[in-house]
Amino acid sequence: MSAARDMLCDTARAVFTGASDIAPVEEAGFALLLIPEAEGGFGGDWGDVDAVLQIAGVTVPDLPVAELILADADDRLRAAATVSLMAGAMGQALALSIEHVNMRQQFGRLLGKFQAVQQSLAVMACEVRAVEAAAAALAARLDAVGRDPSAADFEIAAAKLRANRAVGVVTAVAHQVHGAIGFTEEYDLHRVTIPLMRWRGAHGNDAHWAQILGRQAAGLGGRGLWEAITARGA
């Protein structure tokens, strides 16, 4: 990460942590993130948006940070922003789960020492990594095409669909390894799992994006799909 992005992330963490409404986020100038420097903005790119929204997905999942940054953007860009929120929240669900199983003991051992628990968390971690990769690759595409959602339609559909499909495993395993404590209002897990359930249906659920992507792939044909995927990146 660049030094500028590191600083941006430090600011985001400091401002978001403990914020109970959007006012401090507005005051810190996050609405200017994507505004060019020449127009008095921060001049950020989608990689910056991805990084900030991953932090928002962990710290303030219920505040409209993405709406603030994107203003009146196309709904497909809101879908892209949601992928970053989801990646952040999933990373947090995984971190909380690891912390819990490395602390909680049953049958005289840490939960994390049981193979059944290890295998479940490995499955969950794979899903989280897949969504993080999807968010990062989508950001790279959006930045390569000047944030034109029509030029990144394939990647937006693929990334949002992949993120949606990870929600089931990620929330289920996180809650399962936490046991009853994770189902309480007091414990932080629901602060990311309920938003994940909500985001799955926001800005295009599975069926919405699968139809769009499936028709696009079918239109390209079997060989054409591969040629399109490789032509679009690397």
């Binding site: 199983v101 490395n102 295998q119 897949a130 990769a133 499936g214 044909g221 079997g222 995927i229 490789t230």
Partner: protein
């Protein structure tokens, strides 16, 4: 394993031109072949194709030119590999030598070994197999018992390997053996490069449930190989093998080896599929796109000299799950009988039968998940 960053996949030179050239070369040189051979194509043996591919400079690409290689960047090789797999090219003969054995000989081998083996590998003419599993050492690889004792004449090998893919057509085996008498577990192991025409070696086929002969039993009865057969450091075999498995686990073959089925499905569905079929195609497309990003990032990390053991395992786990899931989901939705003769039905049948092996070869699902769990700090 916190904070997974996507490594930029940025091969030097003109990757698009490399891709275009290879596609043109394949159009002219890839044998028509059977559609079923295109699926699981890294197990399809075709020595003529391997030789032609080597002559065209697409085998041993990353080896230095002084050993007959192309001195190309690992990510240029990655581009070539994904194109070969996506096209279903029969790369099985030289696959292991090109992917694993060549790079390992370059990294750990002696100058004599490099000169002796690498040019043949780069020509697509010298094939290799990996001698790891034994009857008592499957997932538990540290239980290897095949022994090699150093004598005045050389190493004397006794024991047995099993599930050795391609031993019947390979010229050499890179074997993990116990060189230190009385050693246990992952200590005292070394790697030996064994010419398979050495007296005392017996290779017997094991036919798999699909009726194919891919793997073998290999017996060593007082086999004498020269002192120079040792690869790398004596006693460091475990470390060397572990590094090798990173190369094995994260490549594009983990999600592209049955790509022919997706191609056939899309072609059979036509340009305007019904909603259920469009949904399936969309979900499979999202998965290969994501897997490709993960795999490319892991390859870039490997190329940068890092050791992304956990990321490589994530690619293998997700890729295996995808490739096992795909034929089941295709069968659930398309209207084909088991014995139908069109491409889609034949591919489907072949991949349903082959699919149990996907999460066994290269490390079982349970072992792979254990590696990921260790990366998470749970073991």
């Amino acid at each position: 394993m916190q904070g997974f960053a996507l490594y930029p996949f940025d091969p030097p030179g003109d990757a698009a031109a490399l891709r275009t050239d290879l596609r043109a070369w394949l159009a002219a040189n890839q044998p028509a072949g059977d559609v079923v051979a295109r699926a699981n194509c890294w197990a399809s043996f075709d020595a003529n194709f391997s030789r032609a591919l080597g002559a065209a400079g697409y085998v041993g690409m990353t080896l230095p030119t002084r050993y007959g290689g192309g001195d190309r960047h690992p990510l240029e090789r990655y581009v070539v590999i994904e194109e070969l797999l996506a096209a279903g090219a029969p790369v099985g003969a030289h696959w292991i030598a090109d992917r694993q054995t060549g790079p390992l000989i370059l990294r750990y081998g002696s100058e004599e070994q490099r000169q002796r083996y690498l040019p043949g590998i780069a020509r697509g003419e010298l094939y290799a197999c990996i001698g790891l599993s034994e009857p008592g050492a499957g997932s538990d690889l540290a239980a290897v018992r095949t022994s090699a004792r150093e004598t005045a004449e050389g190493w004397r090998i006794n024991g047995q390997k099993i599930w050795t893919t391609g031993a019947h057509f390979s010229h050499i085996m890179l074997a993990l053996v116990r060189t230190e008498e009385g050693s246990e577990r992952n200590a005292g192991l070394s790697q030996l490069l064994i010419d398979l025409d050495t007296p005392g070696i017996t290779i017997r086929p094991i036919i798999d449930m699909a009726g194919h002969h891919d793997f073998n039993e290999v017996f060593f009865d007082d086999v004498l190989v020269p002192h120079g057969a040792l690869v790398g450091e004596r006693g460091q075999g475990w470390k060397q093998v572990t590094a090798e498995l990173g190369l094995e686990r994260s490549g594009p073959e983990r999600y592209l080896s049955s790509h022919a089925l997706l191609v056939a499905l899309i072609d059979a569905a036509g340009p305007a599929p019904d909603p259920a079929l469009a949904t399936l195609i969309g979900e499979l497309t999202a998965e290969i796109w994501t897997l490709r990003q993960l795999s490319m990032s892991t390859a870039a990390k490997l190329a940068a000299g890092e050791d992304p053991m956990v990321e490589a395992s994530v690619v293998k786990e997700l890729g295996n799950a995808f490739e096992q899931d795909m034929p089941r989901r295709v069968q659930a939705i398309i209207d084909r009988d088991w014995d139908d003769g069109d491409d889609l039905a034949r591919l489907l049948r072949a991949l349903l039968i082959a699919s149990p092996s996907f999460s066994l070869r290269g490390g079982t699902r349970e072992v792979i998940r254990g590696i990921i769990a260790r990366g998470l700090g749970l073991r």
